[in-house]
């Protein structure tokens, strides 16, 4: 199938510039590590703050990473070819965001369990934390992709993107951090996880349309 060839291309490219793609992940690790330095490194305090700290750091890291989603394609002209392809741009974009998430979001989710240990987050709840990030970070990727599509033609788009997208990410942050927080104190975390799942379904179905519309507008001039 053709679309698998596109995934293959994206993953191959991602592998060749893995250094660049690692930056959001490194950013995530460093930001998480800064909190104990700014706060009091007392274990009970850290434990109570851990879900929020990890979630905010993941949110920022994912959004910062999304700036590069279409940038190189825009600069080298591949984006025009994508738009001129007779294949459905929605599908192309969906795969694009997904492979980008595989390259940046997934490593971040994996590392979050490690960061959880540094923040004295209870071991028994790590599964829920990882699950919440697994469901939530793709939603962030899609929201970030909408912002990236709208700002791809702008020279100073990198600063603008978080301003546009951060307010939209509030529900993901709330449910994600709540799931991780509840699990840590032994409360049931299913409800917020379901909400995250529902948002993921919404993002998967609606965001590609917003992203393609944004790309078409950005490339018009």
């Amino acid at each position: 199938m053709k679309l698998t060839a596109l995934i293959e291309r994206d993953l191959r490219l991602a592998y060749r510039r893995r250094g660049e793609l690692a930056t959001p992940v490194i950013f995530f690790v460093i930001v998480t590590a800064l909190f104990p330095l700014a706060l009091n490194p007392e274990p009970t305090l850290l434990r109570s703050l851990a879900p929020g700290v990890i979630w905010v750091a993941a949110l920022l890291a994912v959004l910062i990473g999304q700036d590069s989603l279409f940038k190189t394609d825009y600069e080298d002209g591949s984006l025009e070819l994508m738009l001129l392809s007779p294949l459905s741009l929605e599908w192309i974009v969906l795969l694009r965001v997904f492979t980008h998430w595989l390259a940046t979001g997934l490593p971040l989710v994996m590392l979050s369990s490690l960061m959880a240990l540094l923040l004295d987050y209870p071991m028994h709840a790590v599964g829920v934390l990882v699950m919440s990030l697994l469901l939530g970070t793709p939603v962030l990727s899609f929201l970030g992709a909408v912002g990236a599509a709208l700002t791809v033609g702008l020279r100073r788009g990198g600063m603008l993107l978080p301003i546009l997208v951060l307010p939209l990410t509030v529900p993901v942050l709330i449910f994600g951090a709540a799931a991780a927080g509840r699990a840590a104190v032994g409360e049931p975390a299913a409800a917020p996880l379901y909400f995250l799942g529902a948002m993921l379904v919404l993002a998967l179905t609606l965001a590609p349309f917003a992203i393609t519309a944004g790309l078409r507008i950005s490339l018009e001039s």
Partner: protein, 245 residues
């Protein structure tokens, strides 16, 4: 009727139409707001719990109401602009944003001034105030994107997409914030009209809301004139208009 709407969407006709209508609506809104203030600040009795502090309601609730109404106007106009490629519709979105942002700002400031005597602090992460704050961020994002492009038309269309994504998100944001708020059981003070309010309390509130709506209509027309002029500056009708004046 439809023909009339079609004519109204043509920029030169609209410009003259707005020129005639805006001052009338502006003065009318002033009258209505003054009447509402008289009712709210003088005639209405003090609240049995909040005393005279509750009188902030007459500016807080209309502002909060308008902040959401303006976003609706902005998003609907954005959709019309994208679907039917109506330049005037994009101008409506661009004109509604700064007005909506100011109402949101007002709702936040009056809300926190109300909160101080009730909670003992200017800011509490109450569900409504938090939603208002996020709404303000959404407005700021829209305005920033709208002005980020060299070509005004590209900016209009890009920010229209953002407004639409926003309107889909607002219910989810509001729901999540309410959920989060009940989870953490913050202090709740009731902002807004209550079922058992006497007529002398809620009638001024409705008058104020009507006054704010009139104000919004009057000054969105005025702002639209500016937006239309900016977008149409090279056309012959603008040249003729300039030469006549």
């Amino acid at each position: 009727m439809f023909v009339w709407f079609h004519k109204l969407a043509s920029p030169p006709f609209f410009y003259k139409f707005a020129d005639k209508l805006a001052p009338w609506l502006g003065w009318l809104s002033l009258l209505v707001i003054l009447a509402g203030l008289y009712g709210g600040l003088w005639l209405a009795p003090p609240d049995y719990q909040q005393g005279d502090g509750f009188r902030i309601i007459y500016v807080h609730v209309p502002s909060a109401w308008m902040s959401m109404f303006a976003y609706m106007v902005m998003a609907i106009a954005a959709a019309i602009g994208l679907i039917w490629r109506l330049k005037l519709a994009h101008a409506v979105s661009a004109a509604a944003a700064p007005l909506g942002a100011s109402f949101t700002f007002l709702a936040l400031v009056t809300g926190s001034l109300w909160g101080k005597p009730m909670w003992g602090t200017y800011w509490v992460w109450d569900a409504r105030l938090t939603s208002e704050l996020i709404l303000l961020f959404l407005y700021l994002g829209y305005i920033a994107l709208n002005h980020a492009f060299e070509d005004r038309r590209t900016g209009d269309r890009a920010s229209a997409i953002l407004a639409l994504v926003g309107i889909f998100n607002i219910p989810i944001i509001h729901y999540s914030v309410t959920w989060w708020n009940t989870l953490h059981q913050g202090p709740t003070v009731f902002f807004g009209p209550r079922a058992e309010m006497p007529a002398s309390m809620y009638i001024p509130l409705f008058i104020m809301i009507i006054g704010f709506m009139l104000y919004f209509t009057a000054f969105i027309l005025k702002r639209l004139q500016v937006e239309v002029l900016q977008r149409e500056r090279n056309t012959t009708w603008v040249r003729e208009l300039v030469e006549k004046s």
